[in-house]
């Protein structure tokens, strides 16, 4: 007794990779990742080691394509090793924000009532304090290190994710398929993590791109203000180091600056395209 009132539609094929606005950013990010991974092999020594004449301009000496800084340290080595630290901070701070923020947002959104009130009040507190100020103060607590920077950025920017997650969970909680799940006797964990979370993922994935960009920018500002760890090279610390010679050897600050912009631009473009793919409403 099979009655089909209308045949199953064929699945439309999607060809995202041919879209230039998605291919280009992926290539840039791939390049940065390769830089980060290959750094120890291509530039085995300590990037902060004095290896050449100071103030070599880029392309002056083929051995040092991007030139050297005031202490004769190779800028190319700095850029490669810097990529590693910058990406590490960007990604892990984003992961920390995403995990912590989603947890709080989901709990507040799904449970509602008093829990929602309390959690949102805590979120508000961290959201009221200006991010940069909060990061600076957190960094002053103990010796600067990459992990402390990641934790500080995480602590300062999780409210944004919490707000997003909470909004998603509140709308999804009232949807029929969640009521059906509750009516079928599914436990709260199954409902939150298996039923609701997959539907909230698009927004969170897009938020990740913003978080990574945000992480990299804050890290570069922190290193620029010399609050970073003196033993590790990051693109921000390179800009900071080049700051005093900004008028004469401006390339010392310009090149790492451009590296940051390209990477963050790539991450943002990726996020932008993902938003448009996952959320049809944003198209014309």
């Amino acid at each position: 007794m099979t009655v089909i009132d209308h045949p199953l539609r064929a699945r439309p094929k999607r060809r995202p990779l041919r879209d230039p606005f998605l291919l280009l950013p992926l290539l840039v990010l791939l390049a940065v990742a390769v830089m980060a991974i290959s750094a120890p092999w291509l530039f085995p020594g300590d990037p902060l080691d004095m290896v050449a004449m100071p103030y070599l301009w880029p392309l002056d000496d083929p051995a040092f394509p991007l030139g050297t800084d005031s202490l004769g340290r190779d800028l190319t080595a700095g850029l490669f090793h810097g990529a590693r630290a910058t990406l590490l901070v960007g990604i892990s701070s984003a992961a920390l924000c995403l995990g912590f923020g989603t947890l709080i947002g989901a709990a507040a959104g799904y449970l509602g009532g008093r829990t929602d009130l309390i959690l949102m009040r805590v979120t508000e507190i961290f959201q009221t304090m200006p991010t940069m100020l909060l990061v600076i103060v957190l960094l002053a607590i103990s010796d600067p290190s990459l992990t402390l920077i990641v934790v500080a950025i995480g602590l300062a920017s999780w409210p944004m994710v919490a707000r997003l997650a909470r909004a998603e969970f509140i709308t999804l909680r009232h949807r029929d398929f969640v009521l059906a799940a509750r009516a079928l006797g599914y436990g709260p964990f199954r409902i939150v993590f298996i039923e609701i979370l997959p539907n909230a993922l698009p927004t969170l994935i897009v938020a990740t791109s913003v978080l990574i960009a945000n992480g990299i920018l804050i890290e570069s500002a922190v290193s620029f203000l010399n609050l970073g760890d003196a033993n590790t090279v990051t693109w921000g610390s390179l800009i900071g180091a080049g700051r005093t010679q900004i008028r004469t050897e401006w390339y010392l600050s310009a090149i790492p600056g451009i590296a940051i912009i390209l990477t963050v631009l790539a991450v943002n473009f990726l996020g932008d395209r993902l938003t448009r793919i996952l959320n049809p409403r944003l198209r014309a």
Binding site: L8, R175, D176, L184, G187, P198
Partner: protein, 547 residues
Amino acid sequence: MTLLKIENLGVRFGDHDAVAGLDLSLAKGEAVALVGESGCGKSTTALSVMRLLPPAARLRGRVLLDGTDLLSLSEPQMRRVRGNRISMIFQEPMTSLNPVHSIGAQIVEAIRQHADIDKPAARKRALELLDMVHMPDSARRIDDFPHEFSGGQRQRVMIAMAIASRPELMIADEPTTALDATIQHQILSLLDELRRELGMGLLLISHDLSVVSRWTDRAVIMHHGQHMEELAAKDLFTSGHHPYTRGLVSASLRLDRDQHYRSSRLPEIRVTRDAGDYAFSVVRRPAPVAAVPDDGIALRTHDLTVTYKTARGPVTALDGVSVAIPKGGTLGLVGESGSGKSTLARALTQLVTATSGRIELDGQDVTHPRGAALRDLRRRVQMVFQDPYASLNPRHSVGYILETPLAVHDGLGSAERAKKVRQVLDQVGLPAAAADRMPHEFSGGQRQRIGIARALVMRPSVLICDEPVSALDVSVQATILNLLSDLKAELGFSCLFISHDLAVVQFVSDRVVVMRNARVVEENDHLSIWRRPQTDYTRGLIAAASG
């Protein structure tokens, strides 16, 4: 004197023809209806007359208004026609008005768009318009905002704006679908009154045959963008020639036909498509021998009360409701929006906790079940939801959706579960291959079948259906109602069927309860409730429903 003449209208989006070669004419002051199921192109036709289609649409053919071809007009010229010579009102009153401007401002804007008069004069004109559309207490409420009005009142504001410049033709796209029966009746009679008073042509878009037959002069039946048939509205139910028309008429339920699931099945339209055009046939299946319902009670409530805490104080959604679902039978529950029907459904399935009163399942008290008792209730009482698009998790495959309840409750092995899934898919008339497809790949009707399959996979003893067919087209509605009746006969579960559509309730119920403002106003068996209504409210409902 023809006011509007549509010649061989074609609308194409990419490679899909929404409208293919439509011809239609409408005389001055005449009311013509465009009838068909969703996706048949009736709205597209209306929007192409107003040239409000998205830029991607390719139009061909001609649309003549008093001889001028609207399709060849430039955009500025067309703007002078819109709202002045032709105006349009839409289906969703809740979202069709700009939330941040007062209704007075929006009406004044419509007036001054096509007449250069100053604001005070326009405001006076707006007040007149509000009176014409019988807006209560218009002088005081002209400066209120849309969110302060009910659906019906907002539709009146839309109509006021539409007739602001005394248009020659008004197009109404499903103007009353989102409204309750009684309000629907008032709006349609208002439209009719204005048409006569202003000598205005009316092009009504609707999928509701009884509305069309009652309120229009001629009806054009459409299917998949093609013109099926054109006939006088009053003989719609009696002398439709085209098989699709006859199929539609027979599939749509009418209160005065006394069809009942125990005695007959609804005729279904079989659509087969070969080489471009469609062939239709009406299939009538005999009703299996109906098992005589024994007189036990499956699920009963005593003075059940539910109050919600809201920002503006406590709201009582259920006030001392006592109903009883006959074992193996179907209790029909009818009422307008806000009567508490859905709250009762959610209370019975423990989605909402009862404030006071008692719920009994096969004699056991299940008002506040905990732990094992709650799990057991979940197995034995299941629910089917109204909106097919929202009741299935878009991120899970159909197989996973059907398999999970088994895993959660029975803890069966995966092979065992897969077998049960195939079995239940077959029971609701879907191919086994549907298991690994995603919900968005199915039509509305197919999704509702999946919803029913999910509810039945654990063999519940009581099935609660909350408006299961209101969101579906007439033809699909018939197939689902037949499916529910067949399944009930085969599996023997008791059922609570909730709907605002009296004809549907009449077909599926053994006993009927009428609810209003959180209280039960009347209860009776499925025949006497309609023949000998005891309360005025029920009588009003019946009058509105029969058109």
